[in-house]
Point group: C2
Amino acid sequence: MKLPTLAVLLSLPACAAPTLMPLPATMTSGSGRLEINQTFRLALSGPSDEPRVHASALRLIARLAAQTGMPLDRSFAPDPTTATLVVSWTSDGMPVQTLGEDESYRLTADATQARIQAQTALGALRGMETFLQLVEADSQGFKIDGVTIDDHPRFAWRGLMIDSSRHFMPFAVILRNLDGMAALKLNVFHWHLSDDQGFRVESKRFPKLHEMGSDGLYYTQEQIRRVIAYARERGIRVVPEFDMPGHSLSWLVGYPELATSPGPFEIGRHWGGFEALIDPSKEIVYRFLDSFLGEMAGLFPDEYFHIGGDEVNDKEWRANPLIQDFIKTHSLDGSRGLQAYFNKRVQTILARYGKRVEGWDEVLNPDLPRNIVIQSWRGQKSLAEAARLGFQGILSNGYYLDLMHPASRHYEVDPLAGDAASLSDAEKARILGGEACMWTEYVSPETVDSRIWPRLAAIAERFWSPAEVTNVADMYRRLDVMSRRLDSLGLRHNSDYGEMLRRIAGPAPVEPLRALADATEPGKGYLRDEHRYTQQTPLNRLVDASRPESAEAREFAALVERIVATRGESDLAEARRSLEAWKANDAVLQPLLTQSFLAVEDAALSAQLASVASTGLEALRALETHRARPKDWVEENSAALEKMRKTRAELTVPIIPAVEQLVAASGERVGAPEHGARTKKKKKKS
Amino acid sequence: MKLPTLAVLLSLPACAAPTLMPLPATMTSGSGRLEINQTFRLALSGPSDEPRVHASALRLIARLAAQTGMPLDRSFAPDPTTATLVVSWTSDGMPVQTLGEDESYRLTADATQARIQAQTALGALRGMETFLQLVEADSQGFKIDGVTIDDHPRFAWRGLMIDSSRHFMPFAVILRNLDGMAALKLNVFHWHLSDDQGFRVESKRFPKLHEMGSDGLYYTQEQIRRVIAYARERGIRVVPEFDMPGHSLSWLVGYPELATSPGPFEIGRHWGGFEALIDPSKEIVYRFLDSFLGEMAGLFPDEYFHIGGDEVNDKEWRANPLIQDFIKTHSLDGSRGLQAYFNKRVQTILARYGKRVEGWDEVLNPDLPRNIVIQSWRGQKSLAEAARLGFQGILSNGYYLDLMHPASRHYEVDPLAGDAASLSDAEKARILGGEACMWTEYVSPETVDSRIWPRLAAIAERFWSPAEVTNVADMYRRLDVMSRRLDSLGLRHNSDYGEMLRRIAGPAPVEPLRALADATEPGKGYLRDEHRYTQQTPLNRLVDASRPESAEAREFAALVERIVATRGESDLAEARRSLEAWKANDAVLQPLLTQSFLAVEDAALSAQLASVASTGLEALRALETHRARPKDWVEENSAALEKMRKTRAELTVPIIPAVEQLVAASGERVGAPEHGARTKKKKKKS
């Protein structure tokens, strides 16, 4: 059994405000306390029995029952005056959800009733998510405190991209992530459906695409339709991406005639670029695309259609005399001009099917029509450039979830900051929002939820809430609550962690391994690209189980901040306890690691954590005894810690920066703390 | 972070044998080590492409991939000689799985291959479950050690009954529990589909049954067919129960003409008996049943059909002059004779539809045909009596999961023990096996998994394994492993525990509440019947979250056993740590309990745990210092502990018996332990 320390208990807000995420545009406390008990009834009041509102309201009742553990009447109240919650909306909205459709709502609650008023069905959906977050228990029962919320999104395009090509993500994974997205008021699911490593959609016109390009791992058209309907019910648009003319090896397995080189081709198994690509100089390519895109345009109702266009390796184009002739004949600007030509042809086809084109930075070309949307993976500079040229755009640079950065880092990225800050208002208006990207080279169906959640919630708040909402500590407080709420929606970021650690531990007890895992993080950035991975490589190591962001390390860093500032006794004691536990864990863990082949590689990492903790303890001793360490010692240990930043088994020890701070502080000559210093210390979570 | 104590680490077997549950009939270690890696391929070899074996083999590959975290080739090996696992069977088996169908299999493994050989497809399924349990990690990789297993079930009828009437259990709940059953080689799902509180099956012939008798909570016929197909693929028969002539209030809401009294009727909302019941003297009843049972006989393919027949309250029959005339006219033996008359008529109808009747003890009547199966909720005596009369029977008394007894208690109940032990061999052969019963008065979809699992695994072993398999400590060791494996199958007994505790804690941190919950258990037996519960009462209190069996209390009891026997120093220290933690928890928890209305009621329980722990610490002190407590002290404290056995908020403190043992021991004058006593101590888990 484990008891929370007093510090944990003290860090809790005495009287918690409701934990909302994303934070609404404005919120004012009202009076009264609306009891949420078994008399709860919901009434709908709109121009029609709009199916999305109807379905969402039924889900609200079911989720409220699950959240409170109370059986609830599942029928709607016939009379709004007697209902606990009235959901009203003025217009049912578009048959296909469109970009920029009104999502605003007003939510008011007093002692007798809660009311959601929205312009559109979509706004009603957003308000219902807020309602569920407002329900909390106190000593009397479940309740909502009197409140007025006026809310609307800051950006119209708030997306998540999931790459279903590198690793196929089963139907159920997609559905549960749509539930998570809806809870965070995200409104675009960008589905990366083809790439070198797999073509994931059933095509009835060109069945060799999925038959030969997917290893049997693809979505049937019926499943696609179900995903789209599921998303629509949650106020989410589905934008498909078929990446071309590069990243298209999986197409060429079944249809080598589309390729620049003669083939034959096999599905890509490793990561990084392949040279094979579509040949834009062949008319057959456009006949094929006309038919194929026509089929897909019918399957995916959204107005936007993503054609990829990123990272075209033009080596084969340059080596191909026919293509070089074509470039000359058409007076194109080399390979770049050839891709622009291709994009224009594709854009023309899609326009005929009523679609607007979206593409990655590389599709940007002044010759293209201005209704193309640019998705920037390169950065705010490239996005600002597009806006200046008159293109609309969304930001994805800074929101790559696969790079394992902390939520705070993504949270600080603003689509309208950086180069975009200097744009005119008209240009700024072209920046529609952003999209988090979940590339899946190193992500399996088992690990995908833990790479998306809970960090995506912080990004979702950046896209929805006012720009001024930037308090990182408060964001983390709410993120912890959201993480648990997402459990209840069926997301597996927390549950799979334990199961994976047990597998890695093998016959050994799991707790010491968990202690190590809790204090480590996967290496950041594109580190894993240095290794020899393929699509078949098992993702069952500690680096796969380990969370992108260690809560323990984050809390330890905050503790060290306080120690450096005030040298509080209880903080010093808490830091000592943590460091001693990390140090002691290694001795317990080492013999256990030898019992499982999946754990053997973690020996050096465990030793590294112990070594970092030892250094931390030595520095702490200096602070506790007010005896500064000599300069040599500080330099030596700082250098040693610097070296220990190196990954082991692709994992890092994220307490190193905080321990470096302790080491630096231990070299400073500081007297005993003034009397009263402890009362000045900041709260751990403010 | 939490470190395991050295005691926990020492208690682990140095070289673990594979953790099988249920234990097979015979198992012999062989030589060699079969590597299970990404080259794994499975080959099938049977008289046809039997759909169950085919589907189960595909699931085996998917589950092996999930278990190991390794992508595996999902196609079957064309050539058995190159396969890692060959599954062969001689006969495809019956189109509808029958009672007593051969389930035996032989599983052999050596360094090059594993082979499952079975007479029937069913045996192949059982062998595949064993195969998955054999795969374990060691320092080299995943592997199976050389082994020969010859296995067959002890009993032909190994069931679980789920009551879907008192609380409706959604489709998904049923499916995941079928997965759990299959993992434990259970073969009968007995589905209690109607009772006073709800009629749960769509009837096309009598739609008012489900329309008026279910609050809209029923299974469509399509869902029923899917459950049956899902069960068949897992080697599980589905036996439906429609309880009559008592427990039938929900039928009468839509069809009051079947009733003994005039009606109108409403669905039963509270628990315990209702007086309304079917009138066996009306011919209309048999015309109705003929048509209704004909429809259900077509829906449920199993040969057996359960007609309930339990707990008939004959008050209305006795008060009804027409019925009393009927009894006289037909020379029936009062109400008992009337029920036998009814059963015979129903049996005749069902026989015409090719069904054999099953019923609870009360249907037993010498006048009925001997092909009826008696399910005994009353006990072994009643079962033995039935067997002597020539009826087949199964035991459920002793296997009621809703009574919250420990797994060990169920494990010790043997269908062939007690009164059955004195039966002749021919009579014993009539005892077909047993069924665990999950009645759901106090069980919701959220809590049902935690009431079934993992305890059902112990009962499943009783039904499958040889009678000599009775080592309780070893059962618990394997039960812990099975519990985690069941997590991976999607069962929620572990995951819902945390979610419920967080809800109860409300705005307060959950850890201290969890510490309390870990050390408490729901009251045993029919205790909750004393309170005013209805179908609508929320089941969201600590008594609902709390596990039927506290692992902490069980481990503490084992520790105290050792202390009483040997007074080992490290055992004393460990007991002190546990008792101190329990005692200290109360002070932390009390202020937190006031923050949530769902937790307020647990204040007395927390205080009680602290008080028990205090007494334990005082007793421990006497043992540590070798100074016996005076007799008065022992008596006083024993009496106080006895009083504390009383439930608080319907929960008990299960460490009381162990603390009572400590108190008793503290009164005995014992010298310091002999030198070497510590080395004599039994291992915690042997």
